[in-house]
Symmetry: C2
Subunit: 446 residues, 2 copies
């Protein structure tokens, strides 16, 4: 008998690899934060002597969700900026509030609120983009969650830095500080094409290549961002050598055929944020066409100021429904037998996009995102024993189309239970909510 | 001091009428199932002596949601039919299963499962369309929920009736049986234009006019249903006198300008079912254009076999996001000040659509749908004290864009608490789930 820390037995396990697999009555053995094996429960009990046995008899266990685009601290502005016009929302509502209130305390408090939101909805890793990234990183480390912290780069002055030099210096110092941290990684985050000149983007590319760091950037979110100075944004990034597998482009709502060919040739990934894109009136990212070009998709919630929550489960449902609905597939007469076009994307495709694809885009494809031995035990357990998720004919479809966030019963990051039977274990939620309300009172002046 | 059965004090109340109103620290007084008054809590405590005082300090109280299109019994097929092609889904997956398994027991068990799903997500009234409507009505009466039961009409044989005569006879007998029931009402439900001939539709119209019964019908859900025998479906219904305020047309995804003008002239309502329309690849109902024509919208979940749950909260979120996202409003430069086009629809609009508009379309506009004195106390209470719904700048926006179904803490129908602190009071959920699983085992043969 082999000693392990934890054995988690579940009614169903979806390991993501191999694709489409659903395992009945299996267990995951976890030791020192990592997955040791995924096997039938009966065999697991013969082979392993766990310190802790966790039995989840009406549950499905899968990798924790990976949210590849968030502005965690913006959770303090949830509902404070409700314009449905992107430019107006950003420039007249959000920026003035941030210019007035943004500091390290704001970022810490907003990030902790966001982490509570994400963990309780099954997300174990998020990619963040915000000023004061050192405050975000501190909060991630304190709560034991996993994150890839965006190092902001701008050609302009903010409350955090004065020049491209200072952004890069401070960002790369933060990168060094967390170099050996098992939970916190970093990526370069030039804000958007219009905010960063060619010279700075060239420095971003060199830093990314030298340090093998992912790069993330808002791209073609609104119509107004498709061109910068008469040059298409994608063409410019190609010219500057940034269209590579290191790039995670966020949004990509407004793209033409040439943009898609450039993106595919570069091997970039695209973070699809459907709820934010819809809410701000920006439209719908053409995911089916992007996939047809062989481009890898991931999912992101964007910030809570345009969503208004950070549940990737909810985001996955919206994405799946949209992709089916805007496909306009031909329908067939009943005597024609099988449909002549198979559904473009299945529930299992969406589960992979929300887990493994996200991990890969953040440079963690070997570490998380599926339930393979030696990967970190980042896990999400969902209880299907509810009126709206019974009976169960199709587990994957149930998760994508019916499960609600409160059915997430337990969440582990690197083998540590951060949500246990619905309760946060490393966050004092009452205190987090108290601080959030205090910020709201200050910001709204009442 | 006036004696009342119940006084419910909440942090916020959204009465729906007047439109856009949010009341702080108010209370609803309820007596003999009806609303007596909505007033500041302080005044309420001076004026009323309640038998029961309910305090909900972090909650918002609003009218129960009205789901205007469901096939409740189909909850037994949740996830059993996952084709993303409407015709294939309906004709090759759903109908064969129903032809094999449908009987009164199936309808009772499926309906009870659906009622548990709907009540726990804040719905207090639903409109149903299914064979064996007497079984649906029985289950509604037994669980004390409110429903408007569709009386199926077809020109074809099913397991429930053989001819239009028999459908109408059985349906109208059911109507008589529930004539004085405070919770169960009925409406005529010819299935869809292709399934009902002119003569039968003329009889439906006469019955509706004589009995002042609403009529509901699937209309223009898929491209294939826009024309029947060379005549546009809307033109045919106009010719037959069916385009009137009594008609609740379901779906209306594929409509042209002429269809919209006909619908507006007739004064019909439209039940928008966005999740089902997207999932089955049918597209998006043009809600903004319909509203511009002055047509009243309501919301429906459709059946769980194409949704896959019956949460109207979730449906409202999808509808609101879609309406913003497909609007493609022009955005303005920051120095232009206010946007030159206001958002087409607000969170308060969606709350009204999900409550009062639904009530009106079902002929219950004077009885439910808003918190006016003398209306039935059909109420839904939502707890906002969660990480993903704090802080609260905008209560309506929070409900539409962030609240999840488990935040529904309490639900009253005609003053009776059917959900109390998250638990169903009149339904044995374990037994309901056991029966659902037994049906699944029989249907899937394992």
């Amino acid at each position: 008998m082999q000693h392990v820390d934890t054995l988690i037995a579940a009614r169903w396990i979806i390991p993501i690899e191999p694709h489409g697999s659903v395992l009945d009555d299996h267990a995951v053995a976890v030791h020192q934060g990592r997955i040791v094996a995924v096997l039938p429960e009966k065999q697991a009990r013969e082979r392993f002597m766990p310190q802790q046995l966790v039995e989840r008899r009406s549950h499905v266990l899968l990798p924790g969700l990976v949210n590849t685009h968030a502005h965690a601290a913006m959770s303090l502005l949830r509902g404070a900026a409700e314009s449905a016009h992107f430019d107006h929302w950003l420039q007249r509502q959000v920026w003035p509030l941030e210019q007035r209130w943004l500091d390290a305390d704001y970022v810490r408090d907003g990030t902790e609120l966001a982490i509570a939101d994400m963990l309780t909805s099954g997300t174990t890793c998020f990619a963040d983009m915000h000023l004061f990234p050192e405050a975000t990183a501190q909060m991630v480390a304190a709560t034991r969650m996993r994150a890839c912290i965006g190092l902001p780069v701008l050609d302009g002055r903010t409350v955090w830095a004065d020049s491209a030099d200072e952004y890069l210096d401070r960002g790369l110092r933060l990168h060094d500080e967390y170099r050996d941290d098992p939970l916190v990684t970093t990526m370069l985050a030039p804000y958007a094409p219009a905010a960063v000149g060619d010279a700075t983007l060239a420095r971003v590319r060199r830093a990314a290549d030298e340090l093998e760091l992912p790069v993330t950037m808002h791209l073609n979110e609104s119509r107004g961002e498709v061109e910068v100075g008469g040059e298409r944004a994608l063409a410019r990034l190609e010219r500057l050598g940034l269209l590579s597998p290191l790039l995670l482009a966020v949004h990509m709502v407004h793209v033409d055929e040439e943009d898609m060919e450039r993106a595919a040739a570069g091997g970039i990934s695209i973070a699809h944020c459907p709820q934010s894109n819809l809410k701000l009136g920006n439209g719908v990212c053409p995911v089916t066409a992007l996939r047809a070009h062989g481009i890898a998709l991931t999912l992101g919630t964007d910030g809570a100021a345009s969503n208004n929550d950070l549940s990737l489960l909810d985001e996955m449902r919206t994405a799946a429904l949209l992709a089916s609905g805007v496909r306009h597939a031909p329908v067939v007469a009943p005597d024609d037998g099988e449909p002549d076009e198979v559904p473009a994307m299945t529930a299992h495709d969406w589960l992979q996009i929300a887990t493994l694809n996200g991990a890969r885009a953040l440079g963690m494809g070997d570490a998380i995102g599926s339930l393979l031995p030696d990967k970190w035990a980042d896990l999400c357990c969902i209880d299907l024993a509810r009126a709206h998720t019974q009976p169960v004919y199709d587990v994957a479809s149930q998760i994508v189309y019916a499960v609600s966030r409160e059915q997430v019963s337990d969440v582990w990051v690197a083998g540590r239970a951060l949500v246990w039977q619905g309760q946060l274990t490393h966050i004092d939620l009452d205190d987090v909510l108290r601080r959030a309300r205090r910020w709201q009172q200050r910001i709204s002046g009442k």
